[in-house]
Symmetry: C2
Subunit: 376 residues, 2 copies
Amino acid sequence: MEFKVNSKELEKLLSKIIPAVPTRTPMPILENFLLEVKDGLLTVYATDLEISLKASINIITDENVKLVVPARLLNDIVRSLKDTSIYFKLTSNKKVNLITDTGKYVISYLDPEEYPDIPSVVADKDTKDIFEASINGLELKNAFDKIAFAMSKEEMRPAMMGTLFDFSEEGLRFVTTDGHRLANLLKKDGKFSFVQQYVVPERAISVLSKLLDEKEVKMLLTKTYVSFKLSDIELITRLIAQKYPDYTSVIPLENEFLLKVKTKEIHDSIKRMMLFSTTSTRRVKFSLDKTMVEISAEDLDIGASGEEKVECEYNGEKLEIGFNSTYVNDILNHMSDCEEIIFKLHSPTKAVIIEPVEKKENQDLMMLLMPVRLNN
Amino acid sequence: MEFKVNSKELEKLLSKIIPAVPTRTPMPILENFLLEVKDGLLTVYATDLEISLKASINIITDENVKLVVPARLLNDIVRSLKDTSIYFKLTSNKKVNLITDTGKYVISYLDPEEYPDIPSVVADKDTKDIFEASINGLELKNAFDKIAFAMSKEEMRPAMMGTLFDFSEEGLRFVTTDGHRLANLLKKDGKFSFVQQYVVPERAISVLSKLLDEKEVKMLLTKTYVSFKLSDIELITRLIAQKYPDYTSVIPLENEFLLKVKTKEIHDSIKRMMLFSTTSTRRVKFSLDKTMVEISAEDLDIGASGEEKVECEYNGEKLEIGFNSTYVNDILNHMSDCEEIIFKLHSPTKAVIIEPVEKKENQDLMMLLMPVRLNN
């Protein structure tokens, strides 16, 4: 049994699949690729039991075979070769020989039976539990870039460790929160005839994000899995089974005080104040007045403090409000493409809404941040 | 007491001095800068008690003062400011106020008495124990780039944790070794009327390397300290007091077998073989024949192996010799600007010399590598 493949084509294929290979796992079999040669097609699979990746290339061979090979070793070998043909030859002692013009590399393989099943999600118009949707790859990537940061890392509430995909007539809404801040992005370019919520785990979001390009992505959504079909690769992820918390209930409606500032100015100021905010609280104070907001922080442990004035437009009464500077910084990092932003406030203890002044077409972005108590 | 300084000028100054500030130290005072304002000059010092850095800028002030301020905090504040004037104002409660157009930052300072003495090396023609030498900064940097990798990390033999500066009529020779490999570079452009050896610690080499530019460097050499005077900064380092081992005794003279190879070809091959060499030994085998050297490695733990043929010119008898692939890789990394290299060999157990085929003007580079035993 042998087959031939170009090193650079295989390198490209493997580099897309390797992100699904776990780095530390109690199941060493997952550190392998499953290679399937069938009808002139080489398909490579990897899974960490949560997400699976799969992609194929055409190769020259008459035979069919399945084998399981060490993922990182194969990836490293192929990556280190120059542009050349590689002949894969299976020998009787469970070895694969990779033969090029100048070298021969021998690696062991395992039987495909030892590899876990890769889930597959098949579209079936008759099944009412499967929904289809499609979205431009770059739009999806941009959405992830804006909101992924606010996913929780706390295992206490598993649903919050993922991103909510909320399909409705309005469009597709992405929500993330860790209980301290919330990111909420509605894409209005696609309308959906179904109302469904899916919670996609963090790892799927981060792996998918690196694979997305300007091409269309087709989603197949079931109760337990979602498949993202890109032009040349498919990612299937298990969904988080827990129901997502009701995010609408935490969004305040009566935040009547509006603070308008230049994003870069206030962000630069926050970054400097982070040098002064006490490590334990990370607290930064906003003191609001009509045309000027004073940003200040104090680190009692090292006896240092800082204060800065930033120009603003503010329509409310004088107000002092505290935030965790790391959270403000995170939010501003993800709004750096908005020249001006608005903080919508009500009181020093109520959630604050942060939105861009100029809305993007077909897109509503809203960040929400809980204040922290000022002790005075 | 106050003085004024431009933020960008101060940023540039501090960024040069901060490498001498230790990251972890049992003496927290060393995590500070010593600032000295004297006769319109602001001088900043830092030391880790092994190396010290010192540089100055002109400032506007009528008063003189010395103070000790947290190094990283001051550096971070200044770096985060836009191009602006900073007024330093000392207040009675041991605080410095840094005041700009839009902000005020308060940090604590300590008394200069708490800061350790910075050594100084002064040229004195009458003292016969002080020698002077100068070298172009880029030449010195290139020398460090070639040889610094072979310094030992083992605390057992302190001298080998530094770089030997060997001055003689031949020129200035740099030697590093960890007992497994040795790097030896002779710069012949300067001749010296004195014969002296100095062992400069690793940290001085690595900090200095980042500061060097095309300008001349003046060295003042005493029995215990060396001062490197660059155009805008001075580095003073304590010397390693232990005598450097006699490196000439390990350089073999009768290595009559010559193997000539293209550097990139054999290096690429070694990098691939590193994927297969057992983690514990890292061994790679060279099997030498007239026109072809076979490079091979085997990892018995994972049942993988690799072999490659590389074209060569070889004038000796058939020979198999083993090396630690990491060491070969290190050496080839530092000879990548040589198109072809020569391995000079004698037997599978004797040290091998590696040299460029084309010598640079006024420069002799020689690497030496101990083989490892092949078990068969």
